[in-house]
Structures are given as structure tokens and as C-alpha cells.
């Protein structure tokens, strides 16, 4: 059993499908979102995304009410699309379904087609994605949306030297780092989705209702002609994998990789890139690797005292587990709220993974908190919802992944590649150093001083 409570999920460690799909669409050039359902879904999702990135996040809703629900929401959806176009002038509209519209059986695709015909719309791509809240977590929603985008745009394309990269759970700063690495290797890549500018917009004094940047439709369209796809999504179910779709339909070889966090995961990513493109690792990256190795050695004694609980989406958690293992941090609890078939197996197959550690999919924070207490965990690594465990158990939380809404700077966190990994290691080691330094005087006094005194007397 992956949860203490059998019939309830207590303190969820996952979000809904529409959340993931929204994140994905935010990385498409000129994209706006409309959620087909009741008003609250869009508002909750906006609040979560907005506080994570500290950016305005506009998501429209078809705002269904009771009457619309009985008669079907087609009228509302069409009306909503019209208003979104009026206010936002988007190039792309992602239409996401919700619990409500999926349950009443709305044919969203047909409604969208009808709308496009009626208004003679040819220059706006309206892409419906089925994202019922009960159909999976934000993890599945994300890949489902990316896959729909690929299916929408990608068609027979001329072969080219470029590589497709499905970014997965990266921050804007990490996507920028990814681009830097690709530039160093002189590799052309279609990066999907690309949130580097859209969710980390430079200040200009203006509020752009759709910020500049994002993956261009033309780049997605050309994906079928690429040399290969690299998908950061080790645990993506094949039916939701955009890379698998490109492979099945256009024979684009798929390389499914863990997020390039940690030395070995970054090695694997760069090796894959170099294999595909036939390039050599430039000195700059070799130096960065050397510096990471140096950092790992510098901090290995601190990290060796770490007993960590990891939680979040399957990709972030898997990468964090790999990082812990190669640095001597004991990954005592490795957990995701997402129900995922491969996660447990993949984590357990990591080199040197301790058989006694708890690996949990489809779990909740109530369970994680209990284990944290029982196992004497001294380091939490995961998203902000771990703050409750941090507060109750007094264990420091290194905030990574999504969402981080109780700290600033989530958009700037950079933990991929050799440089990013070193920055993350600094955070883990410093948290352990901080705990030790702030407590060692009292601890040593309590452990030894009184005993000596007692003997003396």
C-alpha cells in the first residue's frame, strides 16, 4: 500500500491534468489557454502557476453554470473562444477540458471545428486536449498536451540536421541553460515547450497579455524531419509520449532520458547529443564537468550525513534520487503522488540504490510525513507542498520542482547540466551544514558535558 489512509488521499502530492497541460501551453509562441468547465479550475491553476513564476498567468474559462451544464457547454465554449480572440489576439489557443465537461461528455473537438468554420478562422490554431481531473495527474496532463501539439503540427517534413527536445520539468533558467549547451555543441534544436521567455519575462513597464517567446509552430511542424528526439521523461506512459508518436509515425529515433540533473544524467544527455550529432565535448563543458567533480568532492563529507526524502513529479524525483546516490546522500524516501507504473522500477534500478529505502508512487504527504518521522530524515527535497512536513517535523526543505509558491526565484533556479547540478549540491550540502552548525554546541554539551560532570562528582 502506498498510502497510510486506504480510502482517502490526505494532503495531496499531485495536481490535476489541466495544470500540467497549462504549463505546457505556456511554452508555445502566441498561445493562450481556455479551460472548458467551471470558473474555479482556471483560477486555481492561474494562482499556482503565477505564484511559482511571479508572472501574470492568464487562462480563460468557459465559466459554465448549472444551466449550461444541462444543455451542454457548446455555446459557452464558442463564446469564450470569441472573447479570448478579441482580448488576446492569440496565434494558438489550447482548449483544455475539465472534470465537468468530460463527465457530461462534451465533444470539444467538434465544437472547436464548428467555431472555426463559422468565423472563418484560419490563422489561429485551436488545439483541444482532454484533461479530466480524474484521468491522471499534472504529470500526465503535461505530456498529453505536448503530444497533442505535436500531433496537431507535425506532418511530413524534409529531413534536417536538427534535434527535437521535449523539455519536461525544467525552469525558464534551465531552458536557457539547455540552449547554451546546445549552442556550445553547435546543435540546432526544436525545444518544446520553451518557457524561457514566456514565464520569465524581462521588465519593460508593459504588461504583455501574451508574452513574447515560446516554441514556434513552424519548429513543431518540422519535428518529423529531425535526426532524433530527446525526451526528458523517463516515466512517461508510451501512449502519452510526444517522442514516441514522432517515432511511430515518422520514424524519428527517440531517446528517452532522465532530466540532466547530476553528473551521470548530464553525462548521459551530452553523450546522447554527441552520438546523434557526431560532435566532441568542447573544452568549456569539460571544464564545467571538472568543476562539478571538484564541487562533489568538496561537499561529499557533508552530503554523506544526509538522509533525504524526495517528492514531486516522477522526473524531478528520479533525477534527485540519482543525484543523492552519486553524492552519498541516502535517499530514504523516494515518492511521487502520480500513479506511475515505471517509476518504482526505474528508481530501484538506479546503481547503488538501497533496497531498504521506501519508493512510493501514488502516495500522499500524510504518508511521506509519517515516514520522515520514522526514518529520521534530515533533508527534504521537493516542491513547496512539503512545507507542511518541514514545519511539523522541523526538517529543512530544499525547494525544487513545481510548485514553489512560498519562495521567490523558482523561475531562476538552475539545476540542470554540470553547472546547475553543482548549484543544487551546494544547496543540499549547505542545508546539512546549517543544521549541524546551529546545533552542534548544544548537542555536544547535552551528550557529554553533564555526564563528565556527574562522574566528577
Amino acid at each position: 500500500m502506498s498510502r497510510n489512509f486506504v480510502s482517502m488521499n490526505v494532503n495531496p502530492c499531485k495536481m490535476c491534468m489541466a495544470m500540467g497541460a497549462s504549463l505546457a501551453f505556456k511554452g508555445i509562441e502566441g498561445a493562450m489557454l481556455l479551460m472548458h468547465g467551471s470558473q474555479g479550475c482556471s483560477t486555481y491553476i492561474r494562482r499556482h502557476i503565477s505564484t511559482h513564476y511571479d508572472e501574470p498567468v492568464d487562462i480563460a474559462s468557459s465559466s459554465l453554470n448549472e444551466k449550461d451544464t444541462i444543455h451542454g457547454g457548446a455555446k459557452n465554449l464558442k463564446h469564450g473562444l470569441k472573447n479570448v480572440i478579441s482580448l488576446y489576439d492569440p496565434k494558438v489557443i489550447g482548449v483544455l477540458t475539465t472534470c465537468l465537461t468530460e463527465t457530461i461528455g462534451e465533444d470539444t473537438a467538434a465544437i472547436v471545428d464548428d467555431f472555426k468554420k463559422k468565423h472563418g478562422i484560419r490563422d489561429i490554431d485551436i488545439i483541444p486536449v482532454a484533461t479530466p481531473g480524474y484521468g491522471g495527474s499534472h504529470y500526465e496532463g503535461y505530456y498529453a498536451a505536448v503530444r497533442e501539439m505535436v500531433r496537431y503540427y507535425a506532418g511530413p517534413a524534409e529531413t534536417h540536421e536538427g534535434v527535437n527536445i521535449i523539455t519536461g520539468w525544467m525552469t525558464p533558467a534551465e531552458v536557457r541553460e539547455l540552449k547554451r549547451i546546445l549552442a556550445l555543441l553547435e546543435i540546432d534544436a526544436a525545444i518544446l515547450p520553451d518557457i524561457s521567455d514566456t514565464l520569465d519575462e524581462p521588465y519593460s513597464g508593459a504588461y504583455h497579455m501574451i508574452p513574447a517567446g515560446g516554441t514556434k509552430a513552424a519548429d513543431i511542424a518540422a519535428m518529423a524531419g529531425a535526426r532524433a528526439t530527446i525526451e526528458f521523461g523517463l516515466n512517461v506512459p508510451p501512449a502519452l509520449s510526444p517522442g514516441a508518436w514522432l517515432e511511430q509515425n515518422y520514424g524519428v529515433p527517440l531517446h528517452r532520458l532522465p532530466l540532466p540533473v547530476g553528473l551521470k544524467n548530464t553525462d548521459a544527455f551530452l553523450a546522447t547529443l554527441c552520438n546523434i550529432a557526431g560532435c566532441e565535448l568542447p573544452k568549456e563543458l569539460k571544464d564545467e564537468r571538472g568543476r562539478l567533480m571538484d564541487a562533489m568532492i568538496d561537499s561529499h563529507k557533508y552530503n554523506a550525513e544526509g538522509r533525504a526524502a524526495l517528492f514531486g513529479d516522477p522526473e524531478t524525483v528520479y533525477a534527485a534520487a540519482a543525484l543523492c546516490l552519486e553524492n552519498g546522500i541516502d535517499p530514504v524516501i523516494v515518492a511521487t503522488g502520480t500513479k506511475n507504473d515505471s517509476f518504482t522500477k526505474e528508481v530501484r534500478e538506479l546503481t547503488g540504490f538501497p533496497p531498504k529505502a521506501h519508493v512510493l508512487a501514488d502516495t500522499d504527504f500524510e504518508t511521506i510525513q509519517t515516514l520522515v518521522r520514522e526514518e529520521g530524515v534530515n533533508l527534504l527535497i521537493g516542491h513547496s507542498d512539503g512545507k507542511f512536513v518541514e514545519e511539523k517535523e522541523g526538517v529543512p526543505l530544499i525547494r525544487i520542482g513545481f510548485p514553489v509558491h512560498d519562495r521567490v526565484g523558482a523561475q531562476r533556479q538552475m539545476h540542470i547540466g554540470y553547472m546547475g547540478t553543482a548549484l543544487l549540491l551546494d544547496r543540499t550540502a549547505n542545508a546539512l551544514i546549517q543544521a549541524k552548525h546551529s546545533g552542534f554546541r548544544q548537542e555536544l554539551f547535552d551528550t557529554f558535558y553533564r555526564k563528565t560532570e556527574a562522574r566528577g562528582a
Binding site: 480510502s7 482517502m8 499531485k14 486555481y44 474559462s61 465554449l77 472573447n83 480524474y134 504588461y207 500524510e366
Partner: protein, 483 residues
């Protein structure tokens, strides 16, 4: 059947026409061929927006959001959850798929002085199979497990969108569980689509009425007993006010719902008066309690010095006790002497600035206009998500000619009017913050997530301090100057 060549010509003609339209579109920047015009505001939103001309014309409000307009509102469930969840010793079970429970887990700043059950988010986490076969068994099992593991005296069961559709009989399940376990298990009719956020407030109030139960035989009520409605103890605001209440000698039976307790709610019907802070959510409960338990209610506000003083005096009048009034006057004199010099310093730094307001309820907006006024700040835009007609009238009365008043505004309108009016400060919720910052406008967090109290004398100082630290920050000079 037309000859082939006719349709060919049609196709050709259509292609030429399209090319011409596309050319025009590029040239003019609009898109005439769609028949959809670009604009900063939608025509159908016109009646929800007005420039204050001090005329009789009212503002449209209390209606469903316009589809596609990007309303800042949430849903029925959200309304119910924010109002009911602060009842700290109840188990709050959300019956539905995971999202609703996930997005509302412990995100609000409602504090408890004791039990913390309410800080957990319990969900039946419905999956695809449950949607097909119904979620009743799961809910029954969840209630069983909650009773056995958590031993609560009250369980609230929130309905979400899907359970309204798949037809789970939540009411029946709750009644059966009450019988089986001898505790209160109360359904909350909060299906997301069944109304607006305001309907959710009502659903929460109905659930609390259910807990309060039947009226008791008329006994003498102590005129010094009150219930305090519509304070959610954000950042301990309720505790600040309870200190005042203690000092002036009135007895608060139930605080609804901040730092709330199930037993207090059950005793609430014995109070002599109800005083309401957040009218948007609690006016309904107060009028229900008046009808059922004959408890009269009075609107108060503890935001800003003037409102706080006025409200304390009003409470004293309600008790009919000179002793209470005397204690109020002493408290007011002491506190005013403490905070006035501090506020004066802020006044000098803030006078002449202009503010825009976009908040949840009308009453909060009214308090804010007064607070800004007292700091020498003019309000140039006021909007709310769920304001009522009478509140918009008061807003018109309080604000200057030309002030923009909005109901259920969206980012596009906020951007448009904040810019048009050249506001220096926006006060709003979490979603409005980045919008203000992008425009280079200072921002005040007046939302449920804040960690600093804004009520009472202490809150008035905090408010002035917050306005000062944002609007007078050095970052704006650099933002304006550029490179």
C-alpha cells in the same frame, strides 16, 4: 449539381479574397475576415464598468462571469472552502478528483489557537472508474476511515463538479453515517458550476446552520454575548480583535469561522448579537440566524482607524452598557495615542499618491477607500469580484467623480484602467500582483494568504507601512529610468 467549372471559379475567387483579406490584416493589424474585433474591453462587459458620475445609474453585478473574459473569480467550491475550512477541529473531506483538494490545501493564512485538523486536505481522489460507476462507495469508506482514525465530532463533505453530475447521493450517505456513528456529518453543496463563488459562501453558511441546529426555547440572553462573523483569523487578526473584546468586557461565543470550533458553532444560537466583518460571505448567515434564532446583526469593520473606532463604539451601544462604552473610550484613546503619531509619519510620505483597488468583496473595497483617504491617497479605480448593489452604491458615494468602478474585472480591464488612471498602487489578491509589477505599479497584498494582520489599530499601522514600503521603494526609480 453545379457544373464543375463554377465551383472552380468559386474556389479561385475565395482564394483571391482570402489573400486580399490576409494582406489587409497584415497592413491594418486587425483581422476583419473573422468578424471578431480586437478590443481591451468586451462590449458585453460594458454594464459592469462605470465612471463614477454620482448619478443614479447602477452597476451590473452578482451575475455569472462572461465566458472567455478571464474572470479573476473562483468557483462555488472555492467560496465554500474559504468560508468553512477555518473551522479548525472538523474534518473537511473533499469528494471529487484530486485537483480541488490539492489547490486548497493549507494555502490560506487562517490561524488556529488549538486543533489543526483543518490544515489537512482530505480527498476521495476519484479516478476514472469512480466516475463511471459512481463515487458513493469511496465516500462511505472515506467517512468510515476518517471516523476511525481521526475521531472527529464533525465531518464536512464538500461536493465538487463531478459528483453533481454523476449523481452521488452525498446527503443520503452523510445521514447514514450520522446515524451509524452518532456524530455530525454535514454535506456542503459546493459543486463548482452550480452558481458563483457567492453561492459557495452560502453553501458553507448552510452547512454551519445545519450544525447550529434547532432553536432553543427562549431563555434570557446576556446582552454582553456576541458572535463575531466573517473574520477568518488571517494572520491572527481575530486575536487582535478578541483582545479588544476582552478589554471592553464583551463575551464572544463563536468566531465564524476563523479559529472556529464545532462546539462554539453549536452554542452560537444563544448569543444576543451577531456582528459581521466580511459581509460578502456572512450577510447570508447573519440573516438566517436572525430569522431562525432571532439574533439581530450589525455590520462592523475593523479595517482602518475610523472604522475600528466606529465599530467598537457601535458594539458598546449594542450592549446598552455604559461601562462597556467607557472601556471602549479608554481603549480608543490609548490606542489612538499610540498609533496616530506613527500614521502621521506615513501620511507625510504617502499623501498625494493614487490607488487602484481590486478585491473579492465590496465591504473590503469600501474599507480600503476610507483607509486610503485617511492616508491622503486618492482612489482612482475600485473593483470587486462579488460586490453587492448596495456596496457599489456606497463605493460611488465614497469615491470621487471619474473613479472607475468595476464588477468581476479581468486582466485586460485592470491593465487598461490602471494605466488610464495612472494609479501608483494596486491592492488586490495573489493573481493581480504580477500584473501590477509588470506595469511598474506598487502592490498591496490584501488576500487570504497574507502573513501580516491588517485589522484593528495594529493592522492600520501595518497597512500604512505596507503601502509605504512598496510605493516608496527605490526599485521604481530604477524601473522608470531604464538603462
Amino acid at each position: 449539381m453545379k457544373p464543375l467549372w463554377v465551383s472552380d471559379i468559386e474556389v479561385l475567387f475565395a482564394a483571391v479574397w482570402r489573400a486580399k483579406q490576409d494582406f489587409l490584416y497584415r497592413k491594418r493589424g486587425d483581422r476583419p475576415e473573422r468578424g471578431i474585433k480586437m478590443s481591451a474591453t468586451l462590449k458585453e462587459r460594458d454594464s459592469f464598468i462605470l465612471y463614477n458620475d454620482k448619478s443614479e445609474r447602477g452597476l451590473a453585478c452578482n451575475q455569472s462571469s462572461v465566458s472567455g473574459a478571464v474572470s479573476q473569480r473562483a468557483c462555488v467550491y472555492c467560496g465554500a472552502r474559504v468560508v468553512l475550512n477555518p473551522v479548525a477541529d472538523a474534518v473537511h473531506i473533499v469528494h471529487g478528483p484530486i485537483g480541488c483538494a490539492s489547490y486548497t490545501w493549507d494555502i490560506r493564512g487562517s490561524l488556529s489557537s488549538g486543533p489543526e485538523l483543518y490544515r489537512n486536505s482530505y480527498s476521495t481522489d476519484l479516478g476514472e472508474q469512480d466516475i463511471i460507476f459512481g463515487g458513493e462507495d469511496k465516500l462511505k469508506a472515506a467517512i468510515d476511515e476518517a471516523v476511525k482514525t481521526l475521531d472527529p465530532s464533525v465531518i464536512f463533505v464538500y461536493a465538487t463538479c463531478v459528483v453533481g453530475i454523476i449523481g452521488d447521493d452525498i446527503g443520503g450517505i452523510c445521514r447514514a453515517a450520522e446515524k451509524q456513528y452518532g456524530i455530525r456529518v454535514i454535506p456542503v453543496s459546493s459543486s463548482g458550476f452550480a452558481g458563483t463563488k457567492t453561492s459557495g459562501y452560502k453553501a458553507a453558511c448552510d452547512a454551519m446552520m445545519e450544525l447550529m441546529g434547532e432553536p432553543e426555547s427562549d431563555s434570557e440572553r446576556d446582552p454582553l454575548t456576541f458572535n463575531y462573523l466573517g473574520d477568518f483569523n488571517l494572520a491572527g487578526e481575530l486575536w487582535i480583535l478578541k483582545n479588544y473584546f476582552d478589554e471592553i468586557g464583551i463575551d464572544v461565543i463563536a468566531t465564524i469561522s476563523g479559529d472556529g470550533r464545532c462546539e462554539d458553532l453549536k452554542r452560537a444560537k444563544g448569543a444576543a448579537h451577531n456582528i459581521i466583518q466580511c459581509a460578502g460571505s456572512m450577510h447570508y448567515l447573519a440573516s438566517k440566524m436572525e430569522a431562525r434564532y432571532a439574533i439581530p446583526y450589525t455590520q462592523v469593520s475593523f479595517f482602518g482607524l475610523d472604522d475600528t473606532i466606529e465599530s467598537l463604539e457601535e458594539i458598546a451601544r449594542l450592549t446598552g452598557s455604559d461601562a462597556v462604552m467607557e472601556r471602549v473610550q479608554r481603549l480608543v484613546a490609548r490606542k489612538t495615542a499610540e498609533v496616530e503619531p506613527v500614521l502621521d509619519r506615513y501620511r507625510q510620505r504617502l499623501s498625494g499618491k493614487t490607488a487602484a483597488i481590486y478585491v473579492g468583496g465590496g465591504f473590503k473595497a469600501i474599507s480600503l477607500i476610507k483607509q486610503f483617504n485617511s492616508l491622503g491617497i486618492k482612489t482612482v479605480m475600485v473593483g470587486t469580484q462579488t460586490g453587492r448593489p448596495s456596496e457599489y452604491e456606497t463605493i460611488k458615494f465614497l469615491s470621487d467623480m471619474g473613479t472607475v468602478i468595476l464588477d468581476d474585472a479581468n486582466p485586460s480591464e485592470l491593465k487598461h484602467f490602471i494605466t488610464e488612471k495612472g494609479a501608483d498602487i494596486l491592492v488586490g489578491g495573489v493573481k493581480e500582483r504580477p500584473l501590477a509589477f509588470k506595469l511598474g505599479v506598487a502592490f498591496i497584498d490584501h488576500n487570504h494568504e497574507r502573513k501580516h494582520p491588517l485589522a484593528g489599530f495594529e493592522g492600520a499601522v501595518n497597512f500604512a507601512k505596507e503601502v509605504d514600503l512598496t510605493v516608496n521603494s527605490p526599485v521604481w526609480d530604477m524601473a522608470r529610468e531604464g538603462f
